[in-house]
Amino acid sequence: MKTSLAGLALALALTTTGSATLAADGPIRIGTVLSVTGPLAYLGDPAAKTLDLWVDRLNAAGGVLGRKLELVSYDDVGEASKANGLVKRLIDNDHVDVVIGSHSTGATMAMVPVVENAHMPLISPAGGAIIIDPVKKWVFKTPPTDRMAAERVYGHMKAKGITKVALLCETSGFGQSARKEAQAVAAGFGVSIVADEAFAPKDTDMVAQLTKIRDAAPQAVFVLGTNPAAAIVTKNYRQVGLTQPLYQAHSVTSQEYVDLAGAAAEGVVAPALPVVVFDDLPSSDPQYPRLADYVGAYRAKFGQDPAAYGASALDALLLYVDAVGRAGTTDRTAVRDALEKTSGFVTTASMVSLSATDHLGLKADTFRMIEVRGGKWHLAP
């Protein structure tokens, strides 16, 4: 009996702590579901830092529409089912005005049915094209898709006369989705896939796969994976004596990859968001002013370089703030409509124009081709 009462008391306690009512001129509430801990923490951490930093800056400058911004942040620990529950909490209990999140395509897709039902704008910093293709009324996305990464890489290969390519893909969510795209767009660039091998994210040795690839004699190898496995591939690549150009995906374009792979990383080419090679960008670059602002503030506050995932989260916030400014209100329908009318807005990634049929607004050339020279990522010549 007593335990049952305790259970009831707990339920009631939870009931009373959560109810929040809001004045119309209270802060604008920005809900985030990010993978701050768990296997995707390397994505969530820079994103959470970036959003904290930028909300503080916007508030210091007077907020938006004269209202302060307030972050309501939850951690999905990289699990899609958690993201599904947390987005309900943001919408129904915290009464947020927009949701930003989450990093994995799966977690974002687990939130999609909820936000579509609740008519809540969702801006995702995740990679998968499935998020915006087909277009979902309330769902937007900031980073370019895995398909665009593949197109950019094949374009680079084509310019070098490379037609025979070997794929080496991770069995992770990113690796599988990117592999599908890499296979689908290859023919359009005159590229034929002569080998298609796989490795698991926790594998520690890929010599067997690379030996098979060496026997297939490709002109270049395209690796689609994440750290640390992608860095191990790079070391093994040199060990089995492969000398062809090695392309990696945008998922490894951080200093961590270069540190893990060491000297073996020299000459590796990859597509990347402009933020990764900010120091190489000329001040005439269209992204330069935006990035100078962001990278400068991030370095000043955290003493490290922001990662691409942080920039994608910032872009989500920038797009939202821009849409609220144009809508003149935080009314969800008005903001969604304004988001869809975003035109020529400069983010850290590109110049973004959205429409009813395009909730991404980026082209493959958003990715810059970069290579490792002297232990750092630089713009590829």
Partner: protein
């Protein structure tokens, strides 16, 4: 005046044994009127789904003494079975649910015949392996499962009646919790339940007094797998989108933790263990980075101060006081 003594409520032959059930029904029936918004319904639904799975799992772990570290695998098979049959093959959801449950039951039966010969750590290892295999298959067979990015699941409908929205689903899951509690308490109080307890106490002794231990273990294993599969199917329809994470190893461990924290071989322990462990992450969500620590501290404290699990320890405590 002697008050109602607490243990009477849980004792099989006590005339008061229906009181906890009545309280549960009353709480479940009242909740929809006091829960302030839809998110609370969502939490209640997730708690109810876990309670149902954990009650069945506790029959296996608590009563048979067989540890399964692979039950999330059955949950995942149920979820994906329903998702694939309804979305790719346009089966009616109820048929898909039933077919999936039967297949999972058969699979669990076959597996049980093989692995329940193992005991202790070996059994745990075998179920662990099974769970991981399921998880790998769900992740890699992306033509059917959508791979690690997951797949969407259509709405649930029975005879043209569509179940959608948290408030409708709440009644489905609440009904299943009551059914599971009634079913489990009845099993536990039946000759089969006594046989199971004998089995837990000493398998050899149980066999000596004529209990077909292998058959009991196999049946309970299959039963708990079917319950997990059915809850997996319903949860998939409820959430509308699933990823292989639902079948992950950590989810299996979570289920076993709920059994242990609530109390082995205690139906009501399963109710409280599942409710507590499902609620905690939501209650602690505002601690920003400290929730894992707080979660761990609460678990450690529970196991130190209530070593037999919440319900059995409290029952023992109150019995001693009054006796």
């Amino acid at each position: 005046m002697t008050s109602l003594s607490f243990p009477n409520l849980l004792e099989p032959r006590s005339p008061m044994r229906f009181v906890p059930l009545a309280i549960l029904v009353a709480v479940l029936a009242t909740l929809p009127f006091v829960l302030p918004n839809v998110w609370y319904f969502d939490v209640a639904i997730r708690i109810a789904a876990n309670i149902t799975v954990v009650i069945a799992l506790n029959l296996l772990i608590g009563h048979c003494g067989q540890i399964s570290l692979g039950h999330a695998g059955f949950f995942g098979l149920g979820a994906y079975g329903s998702a694939i049959l309804t979305s790719l093959y346009a089966w009616p959801p109820m048929l898909a649910l039933a077919a999936t449950a039967i297949v999972v039951g058969l699979l669990a039966w076959l597996v049980a015949v093989a692995i329940l010969r193992l005991q202790g750590h070996y059994l745990a290892m075998a179920t662990l392996g099974l769970g991981i295999i399921v998880s790998i298959v769900l992740t890699n067979e992306s033509a059917f499962t959508g791979g690690p990015d997951g797949m969407s699941v259509p709405d649930f409908a029975v005879f043209g009646l569509r179940i959608a929205g948290e408030k409708a689903w709440y009644w489905v899951f609440a009904g299943l919790v009551v059914a599971a509690v009634v079913f489990a308490t009845n099993i536990v109080e039946s000759p089969a339940g006594r046989a199971l307890r004998a089995l837990h106490g000493s398998e050899i002794a149980a066999r000596v007094v004529g209990i077909d231990t292998a058959s009991f273990k196999t049946r309970v294993f299959a039963l708990s797998a079917v319950v997990a599969a059915v809850m997996g199917s319903l949860s998939a329809h409820y959430m509308g989108f699933i990823t292989p994470g639902v079948a992950g190893f950590s989810k299996s461990v979570e289920l076993v933790t709920m059994v242990v924290v609530g109390g082995l071989a205690s139906v009501w322990g399963s109710v409280f263990g599942a409710a507590l462990l499902t609620l905690l992450p939501d209650v602690l969500a505002h601690l920003e980075g400290w929730e894992t620590l707080a979660f761990g501290m609460i678990l450690v404290a529970t196991m130190i101060f209530l070593p037999r699990g919440i319900v059995p320890s409290l029952v023992a405590f109150f019995t001693k006081k009054e006796g």
